[in-house]
């Protein structure tokens, strides 16, 4: 039984091999993150490598080009960002870190060395927790250890022109601040790796220390893959999460095949670096061609000495963790689903209409206002705000290509709550609400300036007010008509309803009726009438 369940789970997630005991997958990550500080790590040049791709060598100081006689000067903005990240990842902060030179020759490495923190990094010994509900992994929780965080310089960019046989070098990225994060080899499945990366991206965005984009190279991930106790293989050039996932899959299979064929002592005997070309991993370097980086403490930068109070101040200034936020939104009074809670807390990369922060602010403000004006709301009643913000409002914004920022001027949370109150009080029905909401948003879009919204007036104009005093006879004849119509096209259906087989079928009739009266009559009223006409209890 247990075995059966395991296979089903793994089939579903496409990781058939990972649950097999014989070949254990082990992964560790090295993540480089470009900080979004105003200036570079050791100079006052503008830090905008991605934005300035079309203007090469525009943001290059004498130091960035490594001219003789120039000196580095540490930009403490980067240290602050590193501290935020380190503390968010539960690391020990090193109060006396320093910079080392890592030597290697490359055309886009102007100093002939990279300034990094090899011997004494700014933070060590942290961790990140992954949870099954929030992060969609296959175990209830997973703790990923973090070995260290270090500040370092990015290199320039080489553009190869094969026809001209030349290399163009752009130093806009030279000396841009990076944080290198090294995890312990704690990952045992690919979804854990992907979950970690996504969570890390969300963290750097939440802290506003990086754009967190893989596509622009603001985050670059190298993966160490090994099987059982064989030496690890480092995978490089992985531009997005799908290539990370595919490359690990490919590399795992490749190593397992080598082991199965008994060639491990020959082909898996030392550490190796491989690249990913989109289809397969290819060898870049192995032990014979390993570079000796000749690390040397930088002789003039000195220690980055931090007062313990600074660390404490940064800790106090940190925003709440996404996990905590999600959990609190899932509890009283909000009671949101995981999905909705994540929508409010996890940064959405590509949506231009609204950010998760904007939606969360809008939701929380609306919720507070709604709760204040309605004492003793039931569990279900509290969910009305989330339903209308997330399902209806955002859906309509997407449809109309409107941004939350735009509509907030005319339709702020105060107005929105006034709108919800109409539904809550039964003044308009859900259907009427939908009509009204779409009408309001469309109005804002067309006028494109701030619109004065008088909700009662609009309800009147649209004739969607629920009429509690509506004539019973009129309604009865209307219901009769509907039953006749349905009976004509599908007589079995009415029979089934009469037999009380499925309550949903009754609602089908109610739906038709609601449409005809544009939601002016409460659905419960229709239910009562249909039951009366069809003589069901």
């Amino acid at each position: 039984m247990v075995k059966f369940r395991n296979i089903r789970v793994s089939l579903k997630t496409g990781r058939f091999y990972s649950t097999r005991n014989e070949y254990k997958l082990i992964c560790g990550l090295e993540i480089h993150t470009q900080l979004n500080t105003d200036n570079k790590l050791f100079s006052l040049s503008t830090n905008a490598p991605f934005k300035s791709l079309n203007t090469p060598n525009k943001h290059v100081s004498h130091f960035d080009a490594s001219l003789p006689g120039t000196r580095p000067k540490l930009n403490y903005e980067c240290v602050l960002d590193a501290l935020k990240l380190a503390l968010s990842l539960n690391c020990n902060v090193n109060l006396n870190s320093h910079f080392d030179r890592k030597h290697y020759f490359y055309g886009d490495q102007p100093q002939g060395y990279q300034l990094t923190q090899h011997y004494s990094p700014i933070a060590t010994e942290g961790y990140m927790n992954l949870y099954t509900d929030i992060d969609t992994i296959d175990t209830p929780t997973k703790k990923i250890g973090i070995i260290q965080l270090q500040l370092e310089q990015d290199t320039g960019i080489s553009h190869y022109d094969n026809q001209e046989k030349t290399t163009m070098i752009d130093l806009n990225r030279s000396n841009v601040p990076l944080i290198e994060l090294v995890t312990k080899p704690d990952f045992t499945t690919i979804p854990q790796v992907i979950a970690f990366i996504k969570k890390y991206q969300n963290l750097v965005r939440n802290l506003d220390v990086s754009t967190g984009n893989l596509e622009t190279g603001a985050i670059r991930v190298d993966v160490n893959v090994s099987v059982d106790t064989y030496p690890r293989v480092e995978l490089k050039n992985l531009p997005n999460t799908s290539s990370i996932s595919n490359a690990i899959k490919y590399e795992y299979k490749r190593q397992v095949n080598i082991i199965k064929q008994g060639k491990a002592s020959e082909l898996l005997n030392c550490q190796e670096t491989r690249g990913w070309n989109g289809k397969e991993t290819v060898k870049l370097r192995s032990k014979e061609t390993t570079i000796d980086y000749r690390y040397m403490p930088d002789p003039e930068l000195g220690c980055v000495t931090l007062d313990p109070s600074i660390v404490q101040n940064v800790r106090n200034s940190l925003p709440r963790s996404s996990d905590d936020e999600i959990r609190s939104l899932m509890e009283e009074p909000y009671n949101l689903s995981v999905k909705n809670a994540k929508l409010l807390c996890v940064h959405n990369e590509k949506n231009e209409q609204y950010t998760s922060i904007e939606v969360k602010d809008f939701y929380l403000t609306s919720f507070d206002l709604f709760q204040k004006s309605n004492a003793k709301l039931s569990f279900k009643e509290k969910k009305i705000v989330a339903n209308w913000v997330i399902n209806e409002l955002l859906g309509n914004l997407n449809k109309l290509e409107l941004s939350l920022r735009e509509i907030k001027q005319s339709f702020p949370p105060e107005k929105f709550v006034e709108f919800i109150q109409l539904i809550h009080d039964g003044k308009i029905s859900n259907t009427g609400g939908k009509t009204l909401l779409f009408y309001i948003l469309n109005l804002i879009k067309e006028k494109s300036i701030s619109v004065e919204l008088n909700l009662p007036k609009l309800v009147n104009e649209l004739k969607i007010e629920v009429q509690s005093t509506i004539n019973d006879d009129e309604l009865l004849s209307q219901c009769k008509d509907i039953i006749d119509e349905v009976n004509e096209s599908d007589p079995k259906l009415i029979e089934a309803i009469k037999l009380g087989k499925r309550i949903n079928l009754l609602n089908y009739l109610v739906g038709i009726a609601m449409k005809k009266t544009r939601g002016r009559v409460k659905p419960t009223e229709y239910q009562r009438l249909f039951k009366f006409l069809l003589k069901i209890e």
Binding site: H62, A65, S66, L67, P68, G69, T70, R71, P72, K73, L74, R101, H103, F105, Y106, G107, P110, Q111, G112, Y113, I169, D292, R294, Y295, M296, P299, E300, L301, G302
Partner: protein, 472 residues
């Protein structure tokens, strides 16, 4: 030799005529030269470091020290002077197209001028300028000053900005002043003694002490380290040094004290472990990609890693022998197999050396903060006296011979030994001035003060050594 001939040999570039009216508006006009590893931004001024690698290099910015000097209306910049390639060498003969006839010592024409600030010392000693700025990493200001028969002052490390001064080894590099006149050295040092935010190792304002007036002290305790008595020292030097000490004893208020700095003997190995490591690292940027010279790739048709071969041909062609030797030595020290045993050990021994220096001086090292260090302050000394070189300047002919002699060349250690008396103060960053032991002598003596005591050293040199005729 005519003045023009002197100029041609000593200067790489001449910006202004050396012949100038001596006074402007009542002020004395002072002329100066700069070692050619100090950046000056100008259309036609190059900063070559006397290396083929930077032969056409023009710096787009000024060094801080040039910025300061050029603002003074009574100072006039004459030009950039000769040096050993990238400031590495103690003879003044390292560089592309070496010609023994180009390198000269104006007062002692058959002798080498000493290095690496050879042109700086020669331009002063030849009477072409009033003062010159050089750089001193292990003795490169003091040694040529002494061999050219003039004075060279290496201030405390971090006192004078290094921004725009081409690096040799940052943890040791110090800009120094050379002049025949102690008052000029004092004046120029005082001008340059200011905090520079562009240089991370520039001493913070609060640790700089500028005496409001001259030191009026009348009692001086002079320490002579036991460890300087070594066989390698030429008897001529030793005799002259003893003579100087005798004269000094006759000055009222001066007492001599034997002191011990056991690590002094380790200074050379420490220096030649750390300095080349920094050199190897600093010179990695000269790859021919962005500036300087680029060699055609010798292996262009081959498929292998073209980046590596491009750098290799550029670097092997444009660096001189001594530069390459130190790069190799440094890379060896930094290689993963050697780092722990050599580099880190040398760093620890350097700290020990500094501690030993701190223990002999009466005043505390300003860098040590307020922590009490174990010193017998009653008995502590004010200054230390040490000769500048192990030998008088060698004859140019002998040096040229040894350069062409394969066996000699393979043993550069002999040359390195010459730094024995100057390197310890570089490792500890101590203010040190070398002055001739007698008028226009090419044998120098160093006065060494505690870290930060630069003005005290200069005052002692003036009031006791010069004005009391100890060294004249």
């Amino acid at each position: 030799m005519s003045k023009q001939q002197l100029i041609n040999k000593i200067f790489f570039s001449v910006k202004n005529n050396v012949e100038t009216p001596l006074k402007i508006t009542g002020q004395q006009l002072l002329t100066y030269s700069l070692k050619d590893n100090i950046c000056v931004k100008a259309e036609d001024d190059k900063t070559t470091c006397n290396s083929s690698m930077l032969w056409e290099y023009k710096s787009p910015f000024n060094s801080t020290i040039y910025d300061i000097l050029s603002k003074e209306s009574n100072l006039k910049f004459i030009g950039k002077t000769r040096l050993d390639e990238f400031a590495m060498g103690s003879m003044g003969i390292n560089g592309p197209n070496f010609n023994p006839k180009d390198v000269l010592n104006p007062l002692f024409p058959d002798r080498v001028p000493g290095g690496s600030s050879s042109g700086s010392a020669a331009s002063v000693s030849g009477g072409l300028v009033d003062f010159s700025l050089g750089t001193d990493t292990g003795g490169s200001v003091r040694l040529p000053a002494s061999w050219c028969g003039t004075m060279g002052f290496k201030p405390s490390y971090g006192k004078i900005s290094r921004y725009g001064v081409v690096d040799m080894a940052q943890s040791l590099d110090t800009v120094g002043v050379i002049s025949n006149d102690i008052d000029k050295i004092y004046h120029v040092f005082k001008l340059l003694d200011q905090y520079d935010p562009k240089d991370t190792t520039s001493l913070p304002e609060e640790l700089r002490f500028r005496p409001p007036q001259q030191d009026l002290k009348s009692e001086w305790k002079i320490g002579i380290p036991r460890e300087i008595c070594i066989d390698l020292c030429d008897p001529i030097i030793w005799n002259k040094f003893e003579e100087t000490l005798h004269k000094l004893l006759s000055v009222p208020g001066v007492t001599l004290h034997p002191v011990s700095i056991p690590s002094l003997k380790l200074s050379l190995p420490i220096y030649y472990t750390l300095c080349p490591s920094e050199v190897a690292s600093n010179l990695a940027r000269y790859d021919g990609v962005r500036y300087g010279s680029r060699e055609k790739n010798e292996f262009e048709d081959q498929d292998n890693d073209t980046d590596i071969t491009l750098f290799a041909s550029t670097r092997s062609k444009h660096f001189g022998k001594e530069v390459k030797r130190r790069i190799m030595l440094g890379n060896h020290t930094l290689s993963s197999g050697s780092y722990q045993n050599n580099y880190l050990k040398a760093q620890r021994l350097r700290m020990r050396l500094i501690d030993e220096f701190n223990s002999i001086f009466q005043v505390r090292n300003v860098l040590m903060g307020k922590t009490e260090i174990k010193t017998n302050s009653d008995e502590g000394i004010d200054f230390m006296l040490v000769p500048t070189s192990l030998t008088p300047p060698p004859k140019m002919d002998d040096v040229v011979k040894s350069q062409t002699n394969k066996q000699q060349e393979e043993n550069p250690v002999t040359n390195y030994m010459n730094d024995f008396f100057t390197v310890p103060m570089s490792l500890a960053g101590l203010p040190t001035i070398s002055i001739p032991m007698s008028l226009k002598s090419n044998l120098g003596v160093q006065i060494v003060g505690q870290y930060g005591d630069d003005y005290k050293v200069l005052n002692f040199a003036k009031n006791v050594m010069i004005n009391s005729n100890v060294s004249t």
